[in-house]
Structure formats: C-alpha cells, structure tokens
C-alpha cells in the first residue's frame, strides 16, 4: 500500500516536471523534482524501503530521459546513500539545513550528470550557460526544497491517517 502511494507521488512529480513546468515561464529550468523526494525517503524511511523506491524512480527517469541508461539510477542511489550517511553525523531537522541538503542534492545531480557526460559522452563544454542553469536550479532548490519536504511529510501523515481510518472502520463497523 505504501509503495503504491510513493509510486503515485513519483508519477505525479514526473508528469508535473515533463508536461506542466516546461510551459511555465521561469519554471522551464526548474530542478529535478524527484531530488527532494529522494532526500525525503533518505531522511524519514528505512534503507531497504527507500532504496527499492529510489531504484524504481531512477529506472523510470532513465527511460524518459535521453541520457545514458543508469545515469538517474546512479544519481538517486548516491544521493540516497549520501543523505543517509550525512544524517548520521548532522541533525537536519530545521528548515535552513533542509534547504542546504536540497541545494546539495541538486548540485550533486548536476555534477554527476556533467561528470558522466565528460567521461562517457561526446565531451563537455562548461560555459556560462551551464553555470547559469546550475545556479538557477540551486536558487530554486534553496527556496522550494524544504517546502517539498514538508509537503511530502504532510502527505505521508494524511495517507497514514486515511489508511488507519479505513482499517479501524473495517475492524469496528459501528464507528
């Protein structure tokens, strides 16, 4: 049940990212919306549960993207592992730190993409436009990253309450 819920969120984010955002001015260079979700899974879910979902999201994104297969899969896995490792040493409960984690996630994804492109692709030219895109995405992540994390948390609570309500009604029809 919980996996269906997460897959639903993943699909909604992918559709938002590939169909709605490109049509909105200013949002056409928005960062990958699955980054906050992967961070959320790393922060609040168990390793096994999170890793399965992260691999699934990576697989879907790799198939929708024109990059080498496995690029998103690798990025999400490294991001998940990185955040899991970070929270062993740093408490990331407050919103400022959440913003920084989101920014770090966006930066990590872009660095992996650029690194992979320069190693396995047709060569990389880091020009002003490349830097502009990355800075633009990081600013977006700084402002909206924690909001997404809070939203996911609220959705999770809402879903848990909904499921527990349904089960309570089934076990006690008088309610």
């Amino acid at each position: 049940m919980i996996y269906c819920f997460y897959i639903g969120i993943c699909l909604a984010l992918i559709i938002l990212q590939t169909t709605v955002l490109p049509n909105l001015p200013l949002f056409d260079r928005f960062y990958d919306l699955l980054i906050p979700f992967v961070i959320y899974l790393a922060l609040y879910r168990a390793v096994r549960e999170g890793l399965i979902l992260v691999c699934f999201f990576g697989f879907i994104m790799d198939n929708l993207s024109g990059g080498p297969f496995g690029l998103y899969l690798s990025t999400y896995c490294w991001l998940f592992i990185g955040v899991k490792w970070t929270i062993k040493y740093v408490q990331v409960a407050n919103k400022v730190l959440l913003s920084l984690v989101a920014v770090a996630g966006v930066l990590l994804e872009n660095l992996i993409f650029l690194g992979a492109s320069s190693i396995v692709g047709p060569g990389l030219v880091v020009g002003g436009d490349t830097v502009r895109i990355i800075v633009f995405q990081m600013i977006w992540a700084l402002g909206t990253g924690p909001l997404f994390l809070i939203l996911f948390r609220h959705l999770q609570y809402w879903f848990n309450n909904l499921v527990s309500g349904i089960f309570a009604r089934r076990s006690n029809p008088g309610l």
Binding site: I14, T19, F69, G121, I133
Partner: protein
C-alpha cells in the same frame, strides 16, 4: 588486516568505478534492456492527458481572452499575406525551373515521403539532454531511426519506441549528429547539438566559403535525414589560422521550446541517380 574506515573507502572507490564502467557501457547505445517501452508506456498516457488539458486551456485563453489584440494582428497578418503571395509566385517559378533541371539530370525520385503527424506529450526531465516523447509508436509504423521534422526544418530522430509512444532525440542534443552542408556553397560538415540550444557545425574545411546567415541543410549522406531539409542558419563563424576546420555555430530554424506537433517521415526520401544512356 584493514581498518573499517579503509574498507569503507575502498568500497566507495570500487562502487564509483563500477558505476562509471556501467555508464560507459550503456552510453554506447540507447538501451533499457528491453524494459524501456514499459516505463514509457506507464508514464506517457498520463503525460498525454495532462498535455492535452494544458493545450486545451491555452487554446481557450488564446481564442477568447486575447481577442482584444486581434484587430491589430489582423492588419499585420494581411501585410504578411500579401508578401507571402508575392513570395509564392517567385517560389513557383523556382519550382518549375527546378523540375526542368532535375529532368535534365535524370534525377529520379523512387519514393515519395509518407509522413505521420504526432503530438509532443512530454519533454526530457533533465536540462542536459534534449529529447521529447510523442504520441505515436510501433503500432503507427514508427521505427527507431526515422527522421522527425516540422515545417521549419529537421527536429530530430526516433531513438526508442513503444507500442503507442516514441522518444525523439532532438538535433540540439549533445549526442546528435547530422551530416549537413551549406546550401549556398555546398561545404560539407557535421551538425552537432550543444546544451545551449544551438548547434556546432564541425569538420568544415577552412578553404570553404561560409558566411554568417548561410542556410545549412541536410546532405542526406547519413542515411537518416532526407537531403535538402533545412537545419539552421550560420550564426557565428571563427576562422583560426592554426586550425584546419572552421568553428561554426548554427542557430536551428526549429523553435524547440515551442515544439507541439511534429511529422515523422516513415519512408525517408531516397534519390536514385541514373547515368546517361
């Protein structure tokens, strides 16, 4: 023998190495080990519904709320129409001349282009890769490698298909390469995509005559794009003394930001040259 920290560091290095090797292997060709079409089939129907809804809302806005500016636009359009009629007459003359010349050269068209229109329903989730998803697939006769065009010129090439959807790599993608030539001087080279949305025109020799503003068309020699289809205009030209090739930037004619409908050429035109008897 090894400390825990050392094992961890070695483990991470091994993982990174394996990761790079796997990415190198998969970058050679677009592959999802046969499951690619499953993922596209899973997401594309939702993309289609959302895209159509957005387009419907946009059309509604354009047709009903923007009527105020229509009268002014009408005047401008009438002027453009007059200009277009004049241009059409000239083109008609050119077409007739072209027909005569082709018959002189015994230039035969063995196949006529059969095209299928498709709607763009999703774009690449990453800013670094330039691909789109269209709403036509194998069931419509689309195959990997077919060229995708719009009225303004070449858009890209099919790189993956599922039953009802296909993925198109645009010519501005860094992995794209189109054998091309300058329409005026017939100087040949290869058009490659750049992440900036522009294209590079590589391997054009210094001795060739190329000017800013020249139109670049497909040469047809790559076996993918029909000869003569427009790609873009030369926007920047650098001639270095030490280099044997020119550094050319080409601005594509197609506005990839506003790509909504495309045409897939099902049987790319093939030309057959016959020698004089």
């Amino acid at each position: 023998m090894f400390s825990k920290k050392m094992v961890l560091i070695i483990g991470v290095i091994v993982l990174i190495t394996v990761n790079i090797i796997v990415l190198s292997a998969t970058s050679k060709r677009y592959t999802a080990f046969g499951f690619g079409h499953v993922a596209i089939s899973l997401v594309a129907p939702f993309q289609e519904v959302v895209t159509r809804s957005i387009r419907f809302a946009k059309d509604l806005w354009k047709h009903y709320f923007f009527l105020v500016s229509l009268s002014q636009e009408n005047i401008v359009l009438k002027d453009s129409l007059n200009q277009a009629i004049e241009d059409k007459n000239q083109w008609h003359e050119t077409k007739l001349a072209n027909t005569r010349l082709r018959s002189l050269l015994n230039f035969q068209k063995t196949l006529t282009n059969r095209v299928i229109p498709a709607e763009v329903i999703g774009i690449d989730p990453s800013a670094w890769f330039k691909t789109i998803i269209i709403d036509k697939g194998k069931s419509d006769g689309i195959e990997k490698g077919l060229p995708v065009v719009v009225a303004r010129g070449i858009a890209g090439q099919i790189i993956e298909t599922s039953n009802h959807y296909s993925k198109v790599m645009l010519i501005i993608d860094r992995n794209s390469a189109v054998d091309a030539m300058v329409q005026r001087s017939r100087a040949r080279g290869v058009i490659k995509g750049e992440s900036t949305g522009q294209c590079r025109f590589d391997y054009v020799l210094r001795k060739h005559d190329v000017k800013v503003g020249d139109t670049v068309v497909a040469s047809g020699l790559d076996g993918v794009y029909p000869k003569g289809l427009r790609l873009g205009a030369v926007s920047e030209l650098v001639k270095r003394d030490a280099e044997i090739f020119l550094e050319i930037t080409v601005a594509p004619y197609v506005d990839f930001e506003k790509l909504e409908e495309v045409l897939v050429i099902l049987n790319p035109q093939q030309h057959k040259f016959t020698s004089e008897p």
